[in-house]
Each structure stands twice: as structure tokens, then as C-alpha cells.
């Protein structure tokens, strides 16, 4: 096993805005580096490529979802339904594959059809959230709290309270999508990296990204600047849904199953990652690369806790809490001084 000497590369280095150390920008990165150092000190397997690959691959679902959440939150919205939505999509996708198996036979075509179903459901689910929020003029918090319950109930119902399992034969074909990869890098990591890079570019370099932060910053100004506020809003939810779909495509081959326990609390984790990354919860400013770091920080906390037994497992939650607060404190510390 080769041990890389450097920290797991964050997907993008912070844009150099202006000269001088900007803690607001570097904060999350610094927190990440500290965590990596801590992990390396506590366990010599921590920096093994195997462990790093595990952690990154595991981060990928939440990570992909959190990239979508960055857009939603930047626009001043929120989506609490993503975890349940993922469970619902996973369940439906598996049922669809199992159902079509008889007709199509196990093989890549079937898997691809399954993927299309997953993506399609993601788009539709996102559109439902978006339409209720924009056309229905209901607060996003309420809409997505409602659909969170609805998606969760639907998957429980589809699963008859149990687990929906992918047919074994198809599972074996589909498995490499999670476990395989190119050049030693597994697909989830590759997809996550792609989504993150595209997300960062869209946020930073396209009119859509600009419009998102304008709306989050001041909706009236956006409207007076001829931005189709409702359409942009809607689009963020649809994007979020599509990315939940993508995350699910990677999730299903991992364990080949979905149940009512799938994706529980993912929404909270995604939102936390977004905010740790420096996006403002009230909207107006978002950065995707920060979110990526936030996601990795959250995964690393779990990983480090599993790699050591410094403390009673009862207190794991407390350590997570403390580290989350510290990570953000680090980032904000210089802000008060201004």
C-alpha cells in the first residue's frame, strides 16, 4: 500500500481574490488540514490510499447532493427532502430494474434503463419541490419538510416496511459502478470530482450562478434586473433533484438495497457541509469548493473516530459537534476583527 505524503487533495484551491491571508476563505481549508494532521497522528493507516479512497467514495453521495444544496441555499432556499428523496429514488429504481429484469434480462442495458429511471425521478422530484415553492409561493422549508415526509413514506410503503433489494445478478453487473474505477480512482470519486468542478464553474463563471447569488442577496434587485427569479429558483430545485438522482445511481450499486432507513439525515449533513464550506444560510453567497471541503471534513470526523478509540463511543456525537463548531470558528475568527 502506498502512502501518499500529502493531504487528500481538495478539489480546487481557493481563488486568489486579493493578496493577504483571508481567513474567511482559507478557514475551511485550514480546518481540513488540521483534521488530516490529527488523523495521521492518531493512526498510521489514515493516510493509506485505501483509507483515503474509502473516505472520498463515501463522501461522494452527500457531496454530490451538497453541491446541489449549495445552489439552493445560495438562492436563499433550502431543501430538507434530499435524504428521503434519495431513498425514494433508490427504492423505485431497484423495483424498476427488478421488474424489467424478466423482459430485458440482466445486462448493461437494464442497468442503464435503471439509471435513466433514477435520474428522471430525481428531476421530477426536484421539479415538484421547485414548483410548490415558486408557483405555490410556500416557504421552501415547509414544502420540503412536507415532501421529506412524503418521499420517506413512499419508500417505506414500496418496501412494505422492509428492504428493497436489487436482484443479485443485476447487482453483480452494477457493482463496479461503485467499487470499480480507472487508474485506481473509483467511479464515485471521479463523478464527485466532476460534479464539484462543474458546479464550481457554473457557480462562478455562468450567468446562472450569478443569478443565484443575486436572488439570494436581494430578490427585488434581481427582479428589477430582469432576472426570471422564479425560473432560476425552480431550476435550482430541479438541479438539486437531478444531483440527488446522480448520487443515488452511485449509491445503489454499493449495497444493492434501499429501505426506509436509507438517506436518513442526509439533508442535515448536506446543509451542514454547505455552511461549513462558507456559503451563507440566508443566501447571496455560495461556493462549491467550500462545500466539497465541508463534506470531506464531515466524513473525516467519522473516519477518525472509527480509527481510534480515544473516547467512549457514546461521546462520538459530542466530538462531531465540537469539531463542526471549531471548523467554523476558525473560519470566522478574523471576521469579528474587521
Amino acid at each position: 500500500m502506498t502512502v501518499s505524503t500529502e493531504a487528500p487533495a481538495p478539489s480546487a484551491s481557493p481563488p486568489r481574490r486579493r493578496p493577504g491571508v483571508n481567513f474567511h476563505v482559507l478557514g475551511p481549508l485550514l480546518a481540513l488540514i488540521l483534521l488530516v494532521v490529527l488523523g495521521a497522528l492518531l493512526n498510521d493507516q489514515f493516510l493509506s490510499s485505501g483509507n483515503i479512497s474509502n473516505v472520498l467514495a463515501r463522501s461522494s453521495f452527500i457531496g454530490i447532493i451538497a453541491v446541489g444544496a449549495t445552489f439552493v441555499i445560495t438562492t436563499g432556499g433550502i431543501d430538507l427532502s434530499v435524504g428521503s428523496m434519495a431513498a425514494f429514488i433508490a427504492g423505485s429504481m431497484i423495483l424498476a430494474i427488478n421488474y424489467l429484469l424478466a423482459g430485458m434480462g440482466a445486462g448493461w442495458p437494464l442497468v442503464l434503463v435503471g439509471m435513466a429511471v433514477g435520474l428522471g425521478l430525481g428531476l421530477i422530484s426536484g421539479a415538484v419541490n421547485g414548483l410548490l415553492t415558486t408557483r405555490g409561493r410556500i416557504e421552501a422549508f415547509i414544502v420540503t419538510l412536507g415532501t421529506m415526509g412524503i418521499f420517506r413514506a413512499l419508500v417505506t410503503w414500496l418496501a412494505n416496511g422492509g428492504t428493497i433489494s436489487l436482484n443479485f445478478e443485476v447487482g453483480d453487473i452494477y457493482r463496479p459502478v461503485y467499487y470499480g474505477g480507472v487508474a485506481g480512482i473509483t467511479w464515485p470519486i471521479i463523478v464527485f470530482a466532476l460534479v464539484a468542478i462543474i458546479g464550481e464553474v457554473v457557480m462562478r463563471r455562468t450567468a446562472f450562478g450569478r443569478h443565484c447569488s443575486a436572488i439570494g442577496s436581494n430578490e427585488q434587485v434581481a427582479r428589477y434586473s430582469a432576472i426570471h427569479v422564479d425560473n432560476v429558483r425552480l431550476l435550482t430545485y430541479v438541479l438539486q433533484g437531478a444531483l440527488v438522482g446522480v448520487a443515488t445511481l452511485l449509491y445503489v450499486p454499493r449495497l444493492g438495497s434501499a429501505s426506509s432507513a436509507t438517506g436518513v439525515l442526509w439533508e442535515l449533513e448536506a446543509i451542514a457541509a454547505v455552511i461549513i464550506g462558507g456559503t451563507t444560510l440566508k443566501g447571496g453567497y455560495g461556493r462549491v469548493w467550500g462545500t466539497v471541503i465541508g463534506v470531506v471534513i464531515l466524513s473525516l470526523i467519522d473516519n477518525i473516530l472509527n480509527l481510534t478509540d480515544v473516547v467512549s463511543p457514546y461521546l462520538n456525537g459530542a466530538f462531531q459537534g465540537v469539531i463542526i463548531i471549531l471548523a467554523v470558528l476558525l473560519q470566522r475568527s478574523r471576521k469579528g476583527e474587521r
Binding site: 481574490r17 463563471r205 450569478r210 427582479r223
Partner: protein, 505 residues
């Protein structure tokens, strides 16, 4: 008067924001019972000095003296406790609260542990009545027009019973009538021995109501004189550092070109009824009227910013405009009167603000940041935007420079028809001249401009034709020599003219 001991003074006060210094060793004093005007170009540092004097910001160096003793305020509250009250340049009201709640915010009247709402309503009502406005103390601030908001701010400041009252461009958003009632209050307070510090870009006001004038240029005091010793031209010269003769460019003859916009029977529910007018290529059309007459609503209705019904023909084509985006595509652009709430993203820098409206010009797939930077360079040069740092948050620009940026943003889309709502609000006289020249040039290039303005001189000096609105209807149209102050006022007050429903000649 200058012999009286200073009530509030600054000694060698400097102020820097990061590496940028905006005030340099300012020595300034205020004596009881005087109205002291502070004038200067946009970004000269007037607001900054006023904030320092009122404890809203600490000086970087230098001392403040109150009643001769050195003074260090650590908060606005402390300053207010010592009788110093500031009316901020930018509207500072909590939108979701009522007028009464805003007036007494932080100083609520109480009966036991509870708010004495009735007493506050009564007092608020009294204050507003003194200012001769009929604003209901129970209405929410978010429902008020900009000028009503300003009146509420003034009422709020008056309620604090100040010894020193500092007013940062209080009249920028007020009409002449409202300004007059404010001046009566100022006179009353001066008679009571209150020291009043006052800024305005309306030099005639300064001449009329102040006792002394201090001119600030680039953060330094260039002169302080009794008002009697200086006239308006002198003030302008001292501010700008050069002579300003004709404020308005020579008006081109009224064009006989084709009609580019024709509006008939436009209704904006609740605000405007049956508005009809035409606009020619190369024409500058004025829209005058009292505050609340519905000029803003009419144009917002036209732009698809408010629900409206009516018949619109644009360059010979009948169109329906549902959204501002569509209006922009049709070559219409609207500059809002509310730059803070609707015009600019205050927490962003100049570049994204400038290009927000015309962003499609800078992007096919990706935004071309270099082109944006170039556009910003142009805008800074063309509109003389004075920001000492390029990446300053727009909320930290001086008020006038915000307005220039807003103007630049609107012009960036190169509209065929520009509607500018109170375009020179808060802009210094030198820049005003530039903007007038600019509007004139647009017209000369064959663009059409609608100017909504509460500044009579502006309407008269600039427009080929003027429409007057009253109570949601267009009640008069003036052309040529008929464009005169008394005519406009008569129409606006409903003393003359009838509604013009269908003005087909």
C-alpha cells in the same frame, strides 16, 4: 455667531477604511442655534464625517469635543444619550415594523413593563402631523413610498429631542413641498438652540436655510464661510474645483421623428388608471407630479414589474410585456428610484452589480470576466464613479456613487427607450451636469428617454415635453414654453386640466 462656543467639534479627525484614507485632519465645529451645511462632491467624505460626529463610526485618529471636553462615543446610543442624533443618508428603517415602532425603536415608551402603544401612536401621529404628512403610524414601513420613508426617518430623529441634529441628505428623496415642511421644523429647532448639521446637493436649499457652509473636497475641508458670503455658483466652484456654468445643456428642438412607444389605457390596479401617452424617437419626455401620484407605478406597470393591463405599441408592433426580462429584450430599461432596495446588491462588489442586468452580453456559456472588468473601467470613466477601491462592497460606496453605478448598470444594455426614475437623487452638482449632458446625448443619438423627477428644474431644463400625473391619472401635457413651474404645479394639484384618455390628434 461664530463667536459662540462650539457645542460639538472635531479636531484633526482622520478616517481610513483599510488602506484607503477618506478623511484627512478635519477640524470642524458646530455652535448652538446654527444651521451648518456640509457640502462636497460624491464621495468627498460628508457621510463619513457625519457618522463620526454622531458616534456611528469611530475616527481613526483625532478627537471629538462635546461642550469643550474630549469625547469618545463607543456607540450610537451613547451619542444619543448626549443629545446627538443622526439621520442616515441611506434609509435606515426596519421594513417589517410599523411606522410607530420604527420611530420609537430603541426608545420605546413604556407603562410598567409594557409598551405604551397608545401613547406612541399619539406621539408618532403628532410628529408626522408636524411634518405635514398624513402617514398612518400603524402602517408597515415596507408599504411606504421612498419619500414617506424619509419622512418617517425625520420624525424618528425629531422624536429623540436632540441638541445636535445631523441630517445626511434628508431632502434627496423629498419633494419641494415636503422639504419645505422639513425646513420649517429646522427653523423651529434652530430657534430652540439646537445645532443642526445638514448636507444636500441642492445648493439652493443650502443657500436658503443655512447659516454657515463648510466645503469638503477629497476628505479635506477647503473652506468654511458664512452663507451670506457665498452664492450658489461659489459653492459649486468650491466643491468641484472648477467653474460650472450651464447646468443644463442646450435643448435640441423637439423632434418630429416617428413614435416609438405608444401606450393607451394602461391600468395598474390600485395605483394608475387609464394612462395614455406617446414617445418619439430622440425625445426626452418628463413625468412630473406629486409624490404618490403613481408615476413610479405607471412605469413599473409598463415594464412588467407590476401587474397591469392596457394596450402598448412599440415601434409599430403591439406587444404585451409580462416581465422585466421581456421588456429588456424589447429595448426598454428602467432605472428604479429605490437604489438600495431594488437597484443594487449592496453586499456585492461593483463588477457583478454593473453587469447584472446585461449579463447575457458578457456570457455565452461562461461569463467573460475580462470583458466585465473592461465594462467597469468604461463605466467608472464615463459616469465618473469615485471609488477608491475597485472591490469595495457597493453598500460602502458613497450614496451618489451608488446612484452613478446604478445609472451605468441601466445604460449598459444600450436600451432604445430609457426610463429613469429620479436619476439624480443624491448626486452632486458637478456630476448632475454630466448626467444631464448624458441624457441629452442619448436623445441626440436617437434614443428616447422618460425622466421621472420631483426636481422641477430638472424637468423644465431637460424635457421636450412633460406629462403631469395626479392621483393615478395623467392630467396634463405641456410642451415648449408651457413647460414652466407654475403650470406643472397647477396640473399636479388638480387646479387645471382634465384627464387625457385618448390623446389622438
Amino acid at each position: 455667531m461664530t463667536g459662540a462656543p462650539a457645542l460639538l467639534a472635531s479636531e484633526r479627525v482622520s478616517r481610513s477604511f483599510g488602506p484607503v484614507q477618506v478623511l484627512f485632519d478635519v477640524d470642524f465645529d458646530l455652535v448652538p442655534g446654527e444651521v451648518h451645511a456640509l457640502i462636497g462632491e460624491n464621495g468627498a467624505g460628508k457621510s463619513t464625517l457625519m457618522k463620526i460626529l454622531s458616534g456611528a463610526q469611530p475616527p481613526s485618529a483625532g478627537t471629538l469635543r462635546l461642550d469643550g471636553g474630549p469625547m469618545r462615543f463607543s456607540s450610537t446610543e451613547e451619542a444619543e444619550d448626549r443629545g446627538i442624533v443622526l439621520i442616515h443618508q441611506e434609509l435606515n428603517l426596519a421594513d417589517q415594523l410599523t411606522v410607530e415602532a420604527n420611530i420609537f425603536l430603541g426608545r420605546e415608551l413604556k407603562r410598567g413593563p409594557f409598551l405604551d402603544v397608545r401613547a406612541m401612536r399619539r406621539e408618532a401621529h403628532r410628529l408626522l402631523a408636524e411634518l405635514e404628512t398624513g402617514i398612518d403610524p400603524a402602517s408597515r414601513v415596507s408599504d411606504l413610498s421612498v419619500s414617506d420613508k424619509q419622512m418617517v426617518e425625520i420624525a424618528k430623529a425629531l422624536s429623540r429631542r436632540a441638541r445636535v441634529l445631523i441630517m445626511d441628505e434628508p431632502t434627496a428623496v423629498l419633494t419641494a413641498r415636503e422639504s419645505q415642511s422639513l425646513f420649517r421644523q429646522i427653523a423651529r429647532l434652530r430657534a430652540q438652540g439646537v445645532a443642526i448639521l445638514y448636507t444636500s446637493h441642492k445648493l439652493d436649499e443650502v443657500k436658503a436655510i443655512s447659516d454657515r457652509v463648510t466645503v469638503l473636497r477629497d476628505g479635506r475641508i477647503v473652506q468654511t464661510t458664512p452663507t451670506a458670503a457665498i452664492d450658489e455658483d461659489g459653492m459649486a466652484r468650491a466643491m468641484v474645483g472648477r467653474d460650472l456654468n450651464d447646468l443644463f445643456p442646450d435643448k435640441a428642438p423637439s423632434p418630429e421623428a416617428e413614435i416609438v412607444l405608444e401606450v393607451r389605457g394602461l391600468d395598474v390596479p390600485g395605483h394608475v388608471r387609464g394612462a395614455s401617452f406617446t414617445l418619439r424617437r430622440g425625445e426626452v419626455l418628463g413625468l412630473a407630479g406629486l409624490v404618490g401620484s403613481g408615476r413610479t407605478e405607471l412605469m413599473e406597470g409598463l415594464m412588467g414589474l407590476r401587474p397591469s393591463t392596457g394596450w402598448i405599441r412599440l415601434r409599430g408592433q403591439t406587444v404585451r410585456i409580462h416581465s422585466p426580462g421581456q421588456a429588456a429584450k424589447l429595448g426598454l430599461a428602467y432605472l428604479t428610484e429605490d437604489r438600495k432596495g431594488r437597484g443594487l446588491l449592496l453586499d456585492k462588489t461593483m463588477r457583478p452589480n454593473l453587469t447584472l442586468l446585461g449579463l447575457d452580453r458578457f456570457s455565452n456559456i461562461f461569463i467573460n470576466k475580462r470583458a466585465e472588468e473592461r465594462a467597469l473601467d468604461d463605466a467608472i470613466a464615463r459616469f465618473d464613479i469615485r471609488a477608491r477601491r475597485r472591490d469595495v462592497r457597493v453598500g460602502n460606496l458613497s450614496g451618489g456613487n451608488q446612484q452613478k453605478l446604478l445609472l451605468a448598470k441601466t445604460m449598459l444594455v444600450e436600451p432604445e427607450i430609457v426610463i429613469v426614475d429620479e436619476p439624480t437623487r443624491g448626486i452632486d452638482i458637478g456630476t448632475k451636469q454630466q448626467i444631464y449632458g448624458f441624457i441629452e446625448k442619448l436623445a441626440a443619438e436617437g434614443k428616447s428617454v422618460i425622466v421621472i423627477s420631483s426636481e422641477m428644474a430638472e424637468v423644465i431644463g431637460l424635457c421636450h415635453r412633460v406629462l403631469v400625473m395626479r392621483s393615478g391619472r395623467i392630467t396634463g401635457e405641456l410642451t415648449g414654453d408651457a413647460i414652466a413651474e407654475h403650470q406643472i404645479v397647477r396640473h399636479a394639484m388638480g387646479l387645471e386640466g382634465s384627464e387625457i384618455h385618448d390623446r389622438q390628434h
